[in-house]
């Protein structure tokens, strides 16, 4: 498969860097609708590549990508690492225990250190909202937010959108976006950066978003972001095309937010019976990791015709390849994307 650095959808977007005029990817909130679509379309070529036996190109050969994870992660880190390696980049993972870098100048110092090592892109996960933006201000290379506190997790929202688009296309839908679709996001909305990024992304692509959680796990004023707020899961599911389940982020909870996991499951667990109250073909999503038997039952998570949970993971690699490719184009001197740095 011959890979090129130019967009396969050139006709649909402005030329070169005009299609994505950002140095960093810090959040969906910074993106316009056409920029989101651009990244999704860019990812399609990598979906295809990832399904080949040889899953490698040399587009980013010679570049160094540092994955700086200040918070524990398995799947996101792995996904970014695979994405970088499949593009031919040298990928280095930096695990920094949150406790050792939380105080003082250390975070800025770490950023300056990474910068001095001449990384060509830095992928950051950090436990504090806004931390990736803070680091982006101090370095010269593109920064990708792999999750900052309870703020944003943009690549997760993008991969969810891509997975959803693929699933809809397989059903014969031809629309490029999600106009007319109703998506329910249910779970620990308060502590979830995934919920915020998905709310912004799905709305930008035309979907109606319902958020469902007990009041203690619903952030104040989220209606102002355009979401419909539900506390009754069955009511939220009524007429929904997609339901996205989130886990309880107990590691972020100080104090008691729900009486017990059992009681939570009773009210908010996605069971087969509950899913039957939605549409006949309602799709089920989950960003992982799943707590089976708490927010989602195994028999729902594993439904072949309804659950697209494993597809989300697959699309994650493609989306991250697209983001790394697009954000390093300027440094690589790709025509139309500015001079090589």
């Amino acid at each position: 498969m011959a890979m090129t650095d130019t967009s396969p959808h050139a006709a649909r977007y402005p030329a070169g860097a005009q299609a994505f005029p950002h140095r960093d990817l810090l959040g969906i909130g910074q993106l316009e609708r056409h920029e989101i679509l651009f990244l999704l379309d860019e990812a399609e070529q990598w979906v295809e590549l990832n399904r080949q036996r040889t899953k490698h190109v040399d587009a980013l050969a010679g570049l160094t990508i540092i994955n700086a994870f200040f918070e524990n992660s398995t799947r996101t880190l792995l996904s970014f690492e695979i994405a970088g390696k499949r593009l031919g980049a040298d990928v280095v993972n930096m695990h920094a225990a949150q406790s050792s870098v939380k105080k003082g100048e250390t975070l800025i110092d770490t950023a300056i250190t990474l910068n001095a090592m001449r990384a060509d892109a830095i992928v950051i996960r950090h436990g504090s909202s806004g931390a990736t933006g803070l680091i982006a201000d101090k370095v010269d290379c593109p920064v990708l937010n792999a999750g900052d506190g309870q703020h944003e997790h943009p690549t997760q929202a993008l991969l969810d959108a891509l997975a959803l688009r693929h699933a809809l296309r397989e059903r014969g839908e031809t629309a490029n976006d999600f106009t007319g679709l109703t998506v329910v996001i249910c779970g620990d909305i308060l502590h979830s950066r995934v919920a915020r990024s998905n709310l912004l992304c799905l709305q930008a692509l035309g979907a109606t978003v319902r958020l469902c959680a007990p009041p203690a796990l619903m952030p104040a004023g989220i209606e102002a972001m355009g979401a419909e707020v539900f506390h009754d899961f069955d009511a939220a599911l009524d007429g929904a095309d997609v339901v996205m389940m989130l886990r309880l982020q107990t590691e972020r909870m100080s104090g008691q937010f729900i009486p017990s996991a059992r009681e939570y499951h009773h009210l908010y667990g996605l069971t087969k019976t509950r899913l039957a109250g939605a549409k006949d073909d309602t799709l089920v999503m989950h960003p992982g990791p799943m707590n089976r038997g708490v927010e989602i039952d195994s028999e729902v998570a594993d439904m072949i015709d309804r659950s697209i949970i494993t597809r989300q993971v697959e699309m994650g690699v493609a989306i991250r390849m697209a983001c790394l490719d697009v954000l390093t184009r300027r440094a690589r001197g790709v025509a139309g994307w500015g001079d090589a740095a």
Partner: protein, 409 residues
């Protein structure tokens, strides 16, 4: 340093409790000897050239002694919060601090209400009073234990000291760094409902009433909290309230882009609350505007928003921000100086903060129209953490006297 030869400041607009009058003011032995329509007497004369002569500012509740910043802002006295390292919870520390600024700046230490400011054991308040403490403060936090708070207020009432309280229900606030609402939610910041303030005020008012104590809420920042103060005042309770300019100039919109200079305690509130603060300043519910001066360097501020320390360097901008309320017709000029000079001085029963015979000659000469731009990088304070960075403003102190002695600016 106190001069003995009399000094006459002539051709001034004198800000007095009963209005602004053109005239002159004479200083003798560090005190205001006379003021009004005076002929130049013996001694030195200073031509004010028609500028405003007002009492030096008395800054109630600062976190650091930062003389260059205070002098820039026309502040001649400040009440220092006990949140020092170590806390002001021993008479020796209070005694040391009370002498630390003299002669050109007076520091009135506030005694820590509880040992280590931990909210559990009442500190040696009577000893600290006798060492120079003019009031008692709970510090940056609320005292969560109502029993401790009641006993503290009873003790303070017996000693006739005001208690300066911080009004945020600690359990409700937890590790929040923002006011619950759209903006905190968009940024994913840990937040607490604004009602945490009214809940704290309601309890403390009830306890102070029970104890017969004088209570001052250093910062009241919400409509609901202000309404409680208004009612308590109407019922005759001995309560006063303060605020800093941040809460009448800014709302939580200012925390966009995770700007840690806007990370304050209490956090910035909604636009409606900001309007409520302005109304409360206009109708007299708020008695004191102070700077909350808390200079913080990059090690405290160049951090992710939730990890940064709260606080702003406010001494230099206090007067200009209060004068902006005069320009906006919220208050008049005499009322402005009541808020920053007279009322805080009265709270500590010091004979300053008013242009009147026999009062301490702490004087600020102000050009109320002088335009300038607030610049974080060029401040006199030990750190430039101001949320007003880049803002054009007007009103500057052009000359300052402490106890009758001129201070070089």
């Amino acid at each position: 340093m106190k001069q003995s030869a009399p000094v006459t400041i002539s051709n001034a607009r004198l800000v007095t409790p009963d209005g602004v009058h053109d005239g002159a003011l004479t200083i003798e032995n560090g005190k205001i000897a006379s003021l009004g329509d005076l002929a130049a007497g013996e001694g030195e004369t200073f031509d004010a050239k028609g500028q405003v002569l007002a009492p030096g500012l008395v800054d109630l509740g600062v976190f650091a002694i930062d003389k260059p910043a205070f002098h820039f802002g026309g502040i001649t006295r400040a009440a220092l919060m006990p949140d020092q390292s170590p806390p002001l919870d021993l008479p020796s520390r209070v005694s040391y601090i009370s002498k630390s600024g003299k002669p050109d700046f007076w520091v009135h230490p506030l005694a820590a209400a509880t040992r280590g400011l931990e909210g559990r054991e009442i500190a040696e308040i009577a000893l600290m009073r006798d060492a120079g403490a003019k009031g008692i403060a709970t510090g940056r936090q609320w005292i969560a234990d109502s029993g401790v708070m009641l006993r503290l207020l009873q003790y303070a009432a017996m000693l006739d000291l005001p208690v300066i309280a911080h009004a945020e229900d600690a359990a409700l606030v937890g590790d929040a760094v923002a006011t619950a609402g759209e903006y905190a939610t968009r940024r994913g910041l840990p937040s607490a409902p604004a009602e945490a303030e009214a809940i704290a005020i309601a309890r403390d008012l009830a306890l102070a009433d029970l104890a017969g104590a004088r209570i001052h809420f250093r910062q009241v920042t919400t409509r609901a909290g202000l309404e409680l103060i208004r009612k308590a005042k109407a019922s005759g309770q001995s309560v006063t309230a303060g605020v800093t300019p941040a809460h009448f100039m800014l709302s939580d919109l200012a925390t966009a882009d995770f700007r840690t200079f806007a990370r304050l305690s209490p956090p910035l509130r909604s636009e409606d609350d900001r309007q409520a603060v302005r109304e409360a300043i206009a109708d007299g519910t708020i008695d004191v505007v102070s700077s909350g001066h808390d200079p913080r360097g990059p090690e405290d501020k160049r951090l992710p928003y939730a990890d940064a320390e709260p606080g702003m360097a406010g001494a230099e901008t206090l007067l200009a921000m209060v004068l902006s309320l005069v320009l906006d017709d919220v208050i008049d000029l005499p009322r402005a100086f009541e808020l920053v000079s007279t009322n805080p001085a009265n709270l500590f029963e010091v004979k300053a903060g008013v242009l009147a015979e026999g009062y301490e000659a702490d004087l600020a000469l102000v050009d109320p129209d002088k335009p300038w731009v607030i610049q974080s990088a060029r401040m006199a304070a030990t750190a430039g953490n101001t949320p007003f960075d880049g803002q054009p403003t007007q009103g500057r102190v052009t000359a300052l006297w402490k106890g009758g002695a001129r201070i070089e600016l």
